[in-house]
Amino acid sequence: MTTYQAEIQIMLKPSVLDPAGTAVTKALQQQHYDGVQQVRIGKFIQLTLLAPDLAQAQAQVERICREVLTNPVIETYRFTVEAKA
């Protein structure tokens, strides 16, 4: 078994309004960051797991993302998995 490190990024779907992101956008614009057009806020999750190989580690992370870490109604995800040194 090898130890793998997954880094998972979860975002709201583009079609879903992000009220927190909108609030931050407005605050930045009020601070005269005139170039700021949009802020979207998501989640970042680090997950360490044991698996026989990279493919199985990826499959497991995929399932965890789909079934637990995200709500498919409003969220999307992407991740990377690497063997941990």
């Binding site: 879903v16 309004l17 009220p19 637990v68 709500n71 109604v73 409003i74």
Partner: protein, 228 residues
Amino acid sequence: MKCGIVVFPGSNCDRDMAWVTHHLLGQPTRFIWHEETDLGEVDLVILPGGFSYGDYLRCGALARFSPVMQAVVRHAKAGKWVLGVCNGFQILTEVGLLPGTLMRNQDLQFICDRVPVRVERVDLPWTCRYQRGQVLTLPIAHGEGCYYAEPQVVQELEQSGQVVFRYLPPNPNGSVGDIAGICNRRGNVLGMMPHPERASDADLGNTDGLGLFTSLLAWYAETACRSC
């Protein structure tokens, strides 16, 4: 009517519910710890409000995996009554018994208020003692109460009459279609953000929510008569 109130770590409206079902209405009521796997012979399962698992990850996302939830899903699939209020509603969407999800309120604030809510349907066990179009004043207390679903899902909900409660303007949390509460297609699972249990005891000055519980009792009595 035997009532079972599920208690998750972080539930905080469980006792208010029992006050209504047991103390005010005299119905046998038991608390069901979330680690239990057998609901016993309950007619009505209630998922109460609160902050199960500290709302970690997403509201209701971790409660969904509590051992008791498999039994709650079986109860619902058997056509028996499941009521989710506030955090209970969030759990029902996470576990897939109701469509859509509850998102952060539009203005980002936690709202604690009493708001007007219209009863959209009265041919259900939950509402048969109300009048269609009746406007109730019900307490709300939530930070993530903004109901959201894909437009196609909302259209299906509307077409099949699954919107049971709707906020009157101004919509407090930005929910799509002013939705405050929905049921499944079969009508035996109800989720709502307003708290009927907090508007049931006359000593608190508002009994607009009691009708939900007396509706169930009336429906229960009638179906029990038919089967005997």
